[in-house]
Symmetry: C2
Subunit: 455 residues, 2 copies
């Protein structure tokens, strides 16, 4: 019998990040400067981001980037993450499918976000910066960044959406324990914050507003840069460690997956998990079905349009070509906070547009039903975000039960739900509701998409 | 360079629990029936506990108990736990000491409690029982038991202290997600609960009261038994997997610890961690300094008396000979809820009395200072309970720094602090207070200790 959990040794850990773009014939569309509608240059991006990260962001050709030893040492404090054979879930479902999951939640940030936070903090420190700024909603990314900054000795300023800051104080306290300065956004510490407070006194804030404050805090301070936890090419590059580890562990077991599944918000989790597998698919060496699972309430892939759009509602960021619901789209208050983004990674968007991956959308009650089945069978309480991938996995496994096929399914369990108990309480009490945007809601969201560049 | 994290393979996992009592020349004192002052018989205990567990409880001679395959399979869903070399903590302290920790927090229950919950749920199921009942304060033990019952298909009724039920709803929701029935105690579902409610309307409950309700719920229901998460000999037996894994991992690394440290509440964590090491010490094969770290607010070892006492304030349980502050002792509301027990494992009490182990007591603010140092260096946010062991470890490591000695320290990181963020918030805000009982407080606690049996 195979192991329940397969761990690579530290010698087997990835030494290089894998850049999926190098194997894409048609590259993801470049970021555009909204003023000139021309591709963003390195110089323009370096005012906001660290130089090394700008290089990684713009490089569509280098296949491998060496992971500096300092980052690899830090990874060893929480990696390798286990590849788990879900024997008990298979048994609970009565499916002939073989289910594996790559579990990224066993670190204090509770998710895969720490993989990129580590790299971004390291490069900021190497550039001699004093600190970094970022925004956070529910707090996963802010927590991950705080941890990495504590390790690399970097100041960390987090703008946290005010409603989360007040109603979800626990991740805020984790960040503070790691030494981060956490400010409720909008705040009077930035010009944009003051302006918003004057215009909307008593507002609970938004992610778009927190981004604007974090960017301002970075560009107006000597020795600071802004960092972002998803969507960007550099983030998918760092997250490739998930897929590289999973690929090697499966290779050791002599197993090839038929289907690979991950949840998609900004795309960093799925993009990281599939990287080496999609590389094989692009090079024609292997074929895999790859499925992104997203919330029906924020269905970027399944109901969005492939257009240039702003990544933030404040429209201070460059334009990205992506599957988008429009920067004017107001996502419903579902509990999978990490999947409430109107757009999508440009890399995944391009792969989806080329038909190289599929997408499915689920309502949150059916996602929590899947989460409960998984938790009781496998022990781990999954994050609402990750539970979208669990739902898709169970659906595919049940198809195998009907057809009798012994397919191998690999899914990404990107995080744990230890800070999502209010959501589980609603589910347990039977008071959870679903949200599906109407066509009118979608039209409203897209109304704010800027004029598209000429082809 | 050694690995950061050492994992045993599944073949290397323990196949037997190790019963430390078999190597003790002077055995721990037996439980007494408070009515007869005679040792509790198997028959008397089987009314409350599962038969197999009663056997384990009373057996002072059998050195090894085979771990049934079903339990070993379940362990594989969250074990082996890693043995971690705390390189970053060593660096942060500038100590020549080599620090290792055995990390038991990487499962959804967040602590080592799941090791014994697994065994207790399995034996209950094997006996053909329908379900088990238990009490829980902050909820670690209740969560662990809910998870194990979901896995083994057993009904689980948890009596949760009412103040925790209302003020700390998150672990309650984890339990409910695993299918447990969680009742705020005191409740009107038991006679003892009704009586207490009539006498003290609006009371927030206590652990002693919850124990009484859980025991009543078990003995008045067909096919139910009561289970307990610490203190008992059987629990220390199950927890020996912690020490057995740590011992084998250190052996593989060729390392022998000089000092072994764990926090002590009821004793299950330290008792489990030290089991094979203490066995070597008892057999004269090796020598180790073994240190229990306890809260200064509830100092059973350092300020208690070695006496027969009730384990519960309700005085429904047998008498145990242990280091006790007296069943009338009112522990202060410190955040390390798992260490707020007036007594101590009879096994550890006997070992301490024989001078085979030491104990230290710490105030909670200094414990949280140690927790913060550890979290920033090693990434993991520790439980307040486990942070007592971190504090003791840092103290010993700093002594090595002064003396230049390269001692090897092994400590037990029994759990994570993800559900203790209110405590961290108080620490971060600088509003945390310390509590040290006066001699008068201690005298009050001991006033309720029953007359001692004749020697």
């Amino acid at each position: 019998m195979e192991y329940y959990r397969t761990y690579l040794t530290e010698e087997e850990l990835p030494t290089h990040y894998y850049n999926l773009r190098a194997d894409m014939e048609k590259k993801p569309a470049p970021l555009l400067n909204p003023r000139t509608m021309q591709p963003m240059t390195a110089e323009e991006l370096e005012g906001v981001f660290c130089s090394e990260l700008v290089k990684q962001e713009l490089d569509n050709d280098t296949r491998f980037f060496e992971i500096p030893e300092e980052i690899r040492d830090y990874y060893k404090t929480f990696r390798p993450s286990p590849l788990v054979r879900a024997y008990n879930l298979e048994k609970a479902l009565g499916t002939p499918a073989k289910i594996y999951f790559k579990f990224e939640g066993n670190n204090t940030s509770g998710s895969h976000k720490l993989n990129s936070a580590a790299a971004q903090a390291y490069y900021a420190r190497k550039q001699g910066l004093k600190g970094v700024t970022t925004e956070t909603g529910a707090g996963q990314w802010g927590t991950a960044l705080s941890m990495a900054c504590a390790y690399f000795g970097l100041d960390c300023k987090v703008y946290m959406v005010k409603t989360s800051y007040e109603q979800k104080p626990f991740r805020r306290e984790v960040m503070r324990t790691y030494g981060a300065e956490v400010t409720a956004s909008p705040s009077d510490t930035t010009e944009v914050g003051k302006k918003i407070l004057a215009e909307f006194p008593g507002t609970g804030g938004s992610l778009g507003c927190a981004i604007s404050e974090a960017v301002e805090a970075a560009v107006t301070r000597e020795g600071y840069r802004y960092v972002l936890g998803s969507v960007l090419n550099q983030v998918l590059l760092h997250q490739s460690v998930i897929g590289l580890e999973a690929h090697k562990a499966l290779e050791k077991l002599g197993v090839t997956p038929d289907i690979i599944i991950g949840c998609t918000g900004g795309g960093s989790n799925l993009g990281g998990l599939i990287a080496p597998f999609m590389g094989e698919k692009l090079r024609g060496e292997k074929d895999y079905r790859i499925i992104g699972a997203e919330p029906a309430s924020c269905p970027s892939f399944t109901r969005g349009k492939y257009l240039y759009d702003f990544c933030d509602t404040g429209k201070v960021c460059p334009l990205a070509k992506m599957y988008t619901l429009g920067n004017g789209f107001m996502p419903s208050p579902i509990h999978a906070g990490g999947l409430r983004f109107h757009g999508m990674s440009t890399i995944l968007s391009e792969l989806y547009d080329q038909g190289l991956m599929e997408a499915v959308a689920y309502e949150q009650t059916e996602v929590f039903e899947a989460a409960e089945v998984f938790a009781r069978a496998e022990g781990i309480l999954p994050a609402p975000e990750s539970s979208h991938a669990i739902k898709a996995t169970i659906d595919e496994a049940m198809k195998c039960k009907e057809s009798g096929e012994e397919k191998v399914i690999l899914f990404g369990l990107s995080g744990t739900g230890y800070f999502d108990l209010v959501a589980y309480q609603q589910f347990n009490d039977g008071t959870m509701t679903d949200y599906i945007p109407t066509d009118e809601d979608l039209a409203k969201g897209l109304a704010f998409v800027p004029p598209q560049p000429e082809e």
